[in-house]
């Protein structure tokens, strides 16, 4: 059993395991997990455990990776509730509001991609249902246009935010707050934390 | 005689492997790497299996199965990977 090629083959297993541990992006880690599974199957087969190698290839490489890819894809997401017609409630800003929302959403996407998150938009017909969805924990955050009177109060500066994004999850709020304060892009929307009292 | 022939097959397979895997390290596009990798990997693996077949002809059903699955799967895999990765490129 003590062949000279045995040691380098077995040494491949901790090597790939270390590479897997040091991955940051979850999807890259999944691919490296596939490589680890292939190497592990090789090691088991070389050591004489054919059944273990087969199980590793079938379950560890195929099933686990597919299930994990689906799980990571559905969990690393920020669900943002928006009004179905964001311009309908505000009166005369309908021309300028929509591009500003689009720009804000684009900024948000680029910020979230840095943290390997996706942005998923959920449409709601009116403001009341939007807030109810946030309370019911259906969405992680909502993006609402500011009320008309508060819009009047701020002297209409060109880059003053007319959208308010309310975030339910404290960690997400911290991440976005620090990213927004450090980056140079003008925030076209205000960030607010959702204070939950009823539980 | 047969033995040296099988070693020649192993040698050709290993040369193909190194030749196909080396472009992976460069900064070329995914499709270029995929082309060299799928061609050289499949040919090298087939050559190694033929070498094994010459060495131990007793296990021919197994090695024939390996040969067939290698040829079919690697071609299909090449197409699937190229399709998936190029669709992403056009989307960006």
């Amino acid at each position: 059993m003590t062949d000279s090629y045995l040691y380098p083959i077995v040494a491949l297993l901790p090597l790939t395991a270390c590479i897997l541990v040091f991955q940051v992006n979850p999807y890259h880690a999944l691919v490296i997990r596939g490589i680890l599974g292939a190497v592990a199957a090789l090691v088991y087969a070389v050591l004489g455990a054919a059944d273990v190698a087969l199980t590793e290839a079938l379950v560890g490489t195929m099933l686990a990776i597919t299930l994990y890819a689906v799980a990571v894809r559905s969990s690393l997401v920020m669900r943002l509730g928006v009004l179905e017609s964001a311009s309908a409630t505000s009166l005369d800003v309908s021309q300028s509001a929509q591009p500003q929302l689009e720009q804000w959403l684009d900024n948000l996407r680029t910020l979230l991609i840095k943290h390997h998150l996706r942005l998923e938009l959920v449409n709601y017909p009116d403001r009341q249902r939007l807030h109810q969805a946030l309370k019911d924990q259906d969405v992680h955050a909502i993006c609402t246009p500011l009320e008309a009177e508060s819009l009047e109060n701020q002297a209409i500066a060109a880059d003053s935010p007319i959208y308010c994004t309310t975030i339910r999850i404290p960690r997400l709020y911290d991440i976005l707050q620090s990213e927004l304060s450090s980056s140079h892009l003008t925030p076209s929307a205000r960030l607010a934390q959702f204070e939950e009292v009823s539980l | 005689m047969i033995n040296t022939l099988s070693y020649v097959c192993f040698g050709i397979g290993l040369i193909f492997w190194f030749w196909g895997t080396w472009p992976l390290l460069g900064d070329r596009s995914v499709l270029y790497k995929l082309h060299s990798l799928s061609v050289a990997d499949t040919l090298g693996s087939i050559s190694i299996v033929v070498g094994l077949l010459l060495k131990i002809p007793r296990e021919w059903p197994l090695l024939l199965l390996a040969l067939i699955s290698l040829a079919i799967w690697n071609t299909v895999l090449g197409y699937v990977l190229a399709y998936c990765s190029s669709r992403e490129d056009t989307y960006d």
């Binding site: 070389v46 490489t61 | 995914v30 090695l63």
Partner: protein, 83 residues
Amino acid sequence: MNVILIAMILALLIPIYEACQDEDIWQKMLAFASVATKTSMMILVVSVLRDDWMIGVVGVIILSVGNAALMLLAHILKRLNQL
């Protein structure tokens, strides 16, 4: 035969290094494809070397299953980038 297996291990190290160093996900998938083929070929060589029929069968099954896993993962990643 031992020399051949050592050379195969060296060939296996190239895609592993590539997967470790490259940032693009598709390059990593290519490295994964290369590793999957190479490991199953090594299992086949070892099975013939030891004259062990059982390991050989496992090697052939891994050869086909590893590629199937790769295609599944590639399709999931493609769907991921489209959304």
